[in-house]
């Protein structure tokens, strides 16, 4: 187990390095450091000296990938890429272009992001599974058919519509919750109800349908037929056998996502004005804040890899036959 984990971590390093190279190349093809400086120094009265000074202070005055002016290993290390990457692996994300410490910002924004993502995930899972079970229970009846049609219809609606309609009806017309915003502590409840509800509802279509397929597949297996032949009640079959066995794909499918919940939801957060990591990312894209984008990409990749490892581990926990080697 330990050996496996160690290997996975070692395996993660080249991936993270690759991610780093890709973002770096992409971003600096877009923005020269001069552009970044100009963006930051404002619109009126910007001189070239001010730009050079800004670059020097933030370490953008070196060559990007290869420094031809020095020889040996230094040609590779005395570059913007090397210096910015090394610190990244030590979780030192540096400062955003506006001077704020990125690690600190990520820490404070994680809370609001999770406050939305976790309930959406947990409630969504519960609702979807219940709905799917209901459909499977009434399989091949008009209820099942109606359920499937509803699912397909719901998953054919763009997520943007759910948000726009929800915000318009619930907040603007019915005055039930604040239109947007966020507060800490218990006050957060009234701000979170609507985005969470919308998040859950917009996920029902695809989710419930997927679980229904899983359950149906399980229903078709021999052991279920045997159980039924033994005269077990339908509900007992459903819960004791089907649900239990289908839990493996459900669980492993869910585990991959859990770490990524930290990244927040881009669209929901920006619609509802929630100061989480999702809106942080969007703002960074719009402001072309390279340091933040890099940090978020790095974080996202890292969490993705963590998710993969967790999935493997959860496999062994659910199914003792599988061993990690």
């Amino acid at each position: 187990m330990t050996a496996y984990l160690l290997r996975r971590i070692l395996y993660a390093l080249p991936i993270l390095l690759g991610v780093n190279v890709i973002t770096f190349v992409l971003f600096f093809m877009v923005n020269t450091p001069d552009d970044m400086a100009r963006m930051n120094l404002g619109v009126k009265h910007v001189t070239q000296e001010a730009i050079d000074k800004w670059k020097a202070e933030r370490g953008y005055d070196k060559p990007l990938l290869y420094n031809a002016s020095v020889s040996g290993a230094k040609a590779l290390t005395d570059t913007v890429f090397f210096e910015k990457s090394v610190s990244m692996f030590a979780f030192d994300f540096g400062r955003a272009d506006d001077g704020r410490d990125i690690a600190r910002e990520i820490k404070t924004r994680m809370g609001p992001s999770l406050a939305i993502a976790l309930p959406v995930f947990a409630v969504g899972l519960a609702v979807n599974i219940s709905f799917a079970l209901l459909m499977v229970f009434f399989r091949a009846s008009y209820l099942d058919f109606a359920g499937v049609v509803l699912c397909v219809a719901m998953m054919s609606i763009s997520g943007l519509f759910y948000i726009i309609a929800g915000q318009y009806l619930v907040s603007k017309l019915w005055h039930l919750v604040p239109i947007s915003g966020f507060a800490g502590g218990l006050d957060a409840f009234k701000f979170l109800v609507l985005p969470v509800a919308i998040g859950v509802v917009s996920g029902i279509g695809a989710g419930a349908r997927w679980y229904r397929t899983l359950f149906l597949e399980e229903m078709g297996k021999d052991y279920v037929r045997t159980a039924r032949a033994k005269g077990l009640a339908e509900t007992a079959v459903l819960f004791r056998h089907v649900l239990k066995n289908a839990l493996i794909p459900i669980l492993t499918g869910a585990v991959v996502v859990i770490p990524l919940l930290f990244m927040g939801s881009l669209i929901t957060e920006s619609f509802f004005g929630i100061p989480g990591l999702g809106s942080y990312t969007i703002d960074a894209i719009n402001a072309q804040d390279f340091a933040v984008v890099r940090a978020m990409v790095f974080l996202g990749s890292l969490l993705y890899i963590v998710g993969l490892v967790l999935t493997d581990i959860s496999y062994t926990l659910v199914d003792p036959r599988i061993r990690l080697e």
Binding site: M39, A50, V170, H175, I179, S180, V193, E234, T235, F271
Partner: protein, 717 residues
Amino acid sequence: MKSTSRPHRFLLLGTLSLLLSACDGAAWNSPYPAADQGKNILYTAFTGRPKHLDPAQSYTEDEAAFTAQVYQPPLQYHYLKRPYTLIPFAATEVPKARHFDASGRPLPQDADPAAVAYSVYDIHIRPGIRYQPHPAFAADASGKPRYFDLSPAELKNIDTLADFEQRGSRELTAADYVYQIKRLAHPHLHSPIFGLMSQYIAGLKDYAATLEKADKAKTGPWLDLRGYPLEGAQAVDRYTYRVKVKGKYPQFQYWLAMPFFSPIPWEADRFYSQPGLAEKNISLDWYPVGTGPYMLTENDPNRRMVLERNPNFGGETYPTEGEPGDRAAGLLADAGKPLPFIDKVVFTLEKETIPYWNKFLQGYYDASGIGSDNFDQAVQISGGEARLTEDMERQGIQLRTSVATSDMYMGFNLLDPTVGGYTDKARKLRQAISIAVDFEEFVSIFANGRGIAAQGPIPPGIFGYREGANPYVYDWVDGKPRRKPIEAAKKLLAEAGYPDGRDAATGKPLLIYLDTTSTGLGSKSRVDWLQKQFQKIDVQLVVRATDWNRFQDKIRKGNAQLFFFGWNADYPDPENFLFLLYGPQSRAKGGGENSANYDSPEFNHLFERMKNMDNGPERQALIDRMVDILRQDAPWIFGYHPKDFVLAHAWTYNRKPNQMANNALKYQRLDPVVREKMRARWNRPVLWPLLLTLVLLGLAVVPAWQGYKRHEKATAK
């Protein structure tokens, strides 16, 4: 088995808790804590984190919303009087410049500007002004500064400025103003006005070099500017300082009303320079230190920023005189009362206009600028006069308008081979396009009437503006300008060598390239509209949309052909507008602000004469001539001057739009009792949808339950 009903129970629980949470008294949709109900708090919004609150760096309007309340420059604009008048703020009076020639002899006020070698301003400040309470002034029992040498252990417990337990204050001195002027040249600060000011303030340029050297040689983290004298700014005594300006520069007075020239106590600089504080976002950019009416006590740029009344502020009262009509409008009801009126101002982050507007309508913001798309709901334009809709009048909302001191214009690049140049043909082409692009329609579609089509570069309210039409684009009919018919434009186009939009020589269609940053909302419709305008004269408009950086780059290199730009006045003087077309300011050639790269020798000459003149008939005559040259050469399609509309609820008082003064908060007053009543009336929750959802869910459960029972029986058999 009861498990199938689990999700419904879950939903029920959710609804119940929602109902419970609503019982704390506040309306369900109130975004504020219930505890703040009924307090003398003004609610407003900010759209993004103000990047700099350090007065040496802050330049943008969203930053000024904070800095103008916290800092106290020597001068300010009168809140009510128009045209804009400078009055003392921290100073005892508006300083008069004394002029000297090269050998140091004093010159009379009306001396030839060319003879003036330097001007001197002596600024006296009021004694007894005190700084807001701040840890930088905190002293221990022995009188030594308490927080100047923070140990790592002490730093560990510090997260925000509020975590410093002790605070202190001290009296404002003239030296603090001098300290700030020196900071403009600080090597780490990149003050946006350093370039400009180093042309004017004596010795500032060399001073920057001195500081650069000193900065490299210094041992600690702090560069004490007090040890380095600056020729152009010196403290004369405790309450007087002297600024020496090269040549004659009457506009310098206006700069003295901007936060750039506010006082910064050396203690604050020393305090914030300690290592470890900047990492915790404790810096002058986050927590300004000032003597103004408010102080910034909470700064969470991801959510909200809070200004609270500065307990040490005093001595200023509400103005007793204003424009005619101000008394009738109730703007003088509070005359003579001490400022400020409001205890606390809460700025909430509101990145998008829609929630901002909706919350305003629900009474959760006390005032709102109006986004164009909400405008029909708010305001009707009749006979050029804006009125509120009946809906909003019923809500008691008040509307205040003023023409902004800004230009929104489309510039031609005069260096471009097609649209540029100073030949008669080129001029006619530009004039033809100026006629074709109907800015009256633009204003009515995209700004919902919030603007007036411009007749020249100088907006109303600025000296030099004259009522009258641009004779090359408009006819004067019935005392109003009327845009020339499109046939006139076609005729000009033909004379310019493009009959029917085709090059007379080659027959090729005329293509005009517009460079823009068309990202974000509404851009597509704007592009469509512009193409429609050019089609009127059979010219094909090609829109090249790009991101902001590339666009800037193109403008800088002079590669653009036609572009859309705006300019907000720094100060209410025609020089601040006309310099945008002054040849040596050419952006492509000199990196200046003249993006059209317009360079007319006559205009340049007149500008140099006009620049340093005092307002008067002679200056007006020069400006008239300059505007006429511009109208004929048409380097800009003059576009429009936007109008600022401010909507405020019935419970707010003393609101008057003021383009120049950003420190308007201290004059405002509100009635929280009325606000509470109105909010409750406007925000009654509508409950039937909730009930309906529950009923529907119930209806869905019943057949499911029955089906389940039937199923159960069937399998049991």
